[in-house]
Amino acid sequence: MGNIVTVSEVCKRYGKVQALRGVSMEVAEGEIFGLIGPDGAGKTTLFRILATLLLADSGTATVDGLDVRRDYRKIRRCIGYMPGRFSLYQDLTVRENLEFFATTFNTTIERNYHLIEDIYRHIERFKHRRAGKLSGGMKQKLALSCALIHAPRVLLLDEPTTGVDPVSRKEFWEMLFRLKTQHGITIVVSTPYMDEAMKCDRIALVQNGHFLKIDTPAAITGSYAKSLWSVRSEQMHRLLDDLRQWPGADTVFSFGETYHVTIKNGYDSEQLQHHVAHCGHQQVLVQHIEASIEDAFMALSD
């Protein structure tokens, strides 16, 4: 399969702020590609360049073989873009918004209903409600329906799950997965939630306008090179300081109910265990663990 999106050495600066510092990536057709990183990393800038709403200062980008600068009109027909901020018409109803986007692209809701059915059925009973009066989760589903109604080949979704609770996020990812498998739509999606990275075929870890790494989630966690240990005890607050005092500790970070500790060369977990016991901790549990995407991100960003 060919690459439906390509980005090559793209740079973008806003005044003094260098938003993108020469990023490159290729997205294969039918893939879910994730841009994973914090606010301000450059994710939205890249989406806006791919959506032909912003010109790069340098570098090139293509969608379906079309150049974002030269062929922007054609590109706009083949992408569906869902910006991070809700950008439908608040005072049109659910149905009117959908009709508006369909007619803008010279099509009808009926013609492409099969694409949105799975998503739209959740909000259909509110079709006469104004978009501005919808809850967050329903707005998100309407926005996705509107981005799909002209049957795009590529979906560009900028942080669709930010601020959304875990159950709605799970449902949303299930919808994306069906769009990919049942309709072959390519999806480029950004998220600040590291756990969602595992749901993508490939991801780019983004920080400060750079890609730290591009690969499958499994390859990224698999290539984690540090010695990683999970540590817990009865007194978690004090344990954090005690672990940081240990000269063998490279990094110490909270991870849910435990701390993840990386150990410097020349030290080992027995010494770690000894140190923690020496500090007077009870019910100490030290286990060697595999890295998560979040561990990998933290290791790559320091």
Binding site: V164, D165, E257
Partner: protein, 247 residues
């Protein structure tokens, strides 16, 4: 030892027309506790939190916050709590120092107090050189740390954090939680909402709201044991699936 509660809620409800946003909730929060207040979008968290902050009058039930009644003493409630959300925290077009002065003034601190506490706060955060910097031009992670420090600037008994840590990188998010730990160790009670389930694990106790009710309330360890699952994420999924309210 008799436990001291800084938030006591008994049968608290809030109704908008026919819609019961918060339906007869009861719970207590202990002094110095980190209390996680979880729930799906639309479960009633924000409405409940607004009542506890003295911003919205309950329809029925009782609640005291820092010893003050939320119906009759909402001004005293506001004076004794701190509040921070991701949506609003700091004035972007004021400098760091001006924000400190403004918040200190609102909470009726003396100039001398404000000056003294500002110096201490900036030194502790390593922001002393940024006193004259516009908040707008600070990195997001710095803003969040500053916003939290400001929310506890007037030494409130309780600080309410409404999704405080969204959008930052994983390291900054953890540094932010370490500030929360430190505040709790100093005896400040922390009441926090979040959609990050790993952060639910950092709380001493967690409540989970479903359709206006509190469906579960216990320590993360007990909740996981009760639902026989390995993470708070799974506890949340198990409970939120029982929701019938369509947001």
């Amino acid at each position: 030892m008799k436990e001291k509660f800084v938030i006591e809620v008994d049968g608290l409800s809030k109704q908008f027309g026919n819609f019961v946003a918060v339906n007869h909730i009861s719970f207590q929060v202990k002094e110095g506790e980190i209390f996680g207040f979880l729930g799906a979008n639309g479960a009633g968290k924000t409405t409940a939190m607004r009542m506890l902050c003295g911003l919205s009058v309950p329809t029925s039930g009782h609640a005291t916050v820092a010893g003050y009644d939320v119906y009759r003493q909402s001004e005293q409630v506001k004076r004794n709590i701190g509040y921070m959300s991701q949506k609003f925290a700091l004035y972007d077009d004021l400098t760091v120092g001006e924000n400190l002065k403004l918040f200190g003034g609102i909470y009726r601190m003396s100039r001398h107090q404000i000056r003294q506490k500002s110096d201490h706060l900036l030194a502790e955060l390593g922001f002393t050189a940024e006193r004259g910097t516009m908040v707008r031009s600070l990195p997001l992670g710095w803003k969040q740390k500053l916003a939290f420090s400001l929310a506890i600037f007037h030494d409130p008994k309780i600080v309410f954090l409404d999704e405080p840590s969204g959008g930052v990188d994983p390291i900054t998010r953890r540094q932010f939680w370490e500030l929360i730990y430190r505040a709790a160790d100093r005896g400040i009670t922390v009441f926090v909402t979040t959609h990050y389930m790993d952060e639910a694990e950092y709380c001493d106790r967690v409540s989970i709201m479903v359709d206006g009710h509190i469906k579960a309330l216990d320590s993360p360890a007990m909740l996981k044991q009760m639902f026989q699952v390995g993470s708070m994420y799974d506890v949340f999924l198990a409970l939120a699936r029982t929701a019938t309210r369509s947001e």
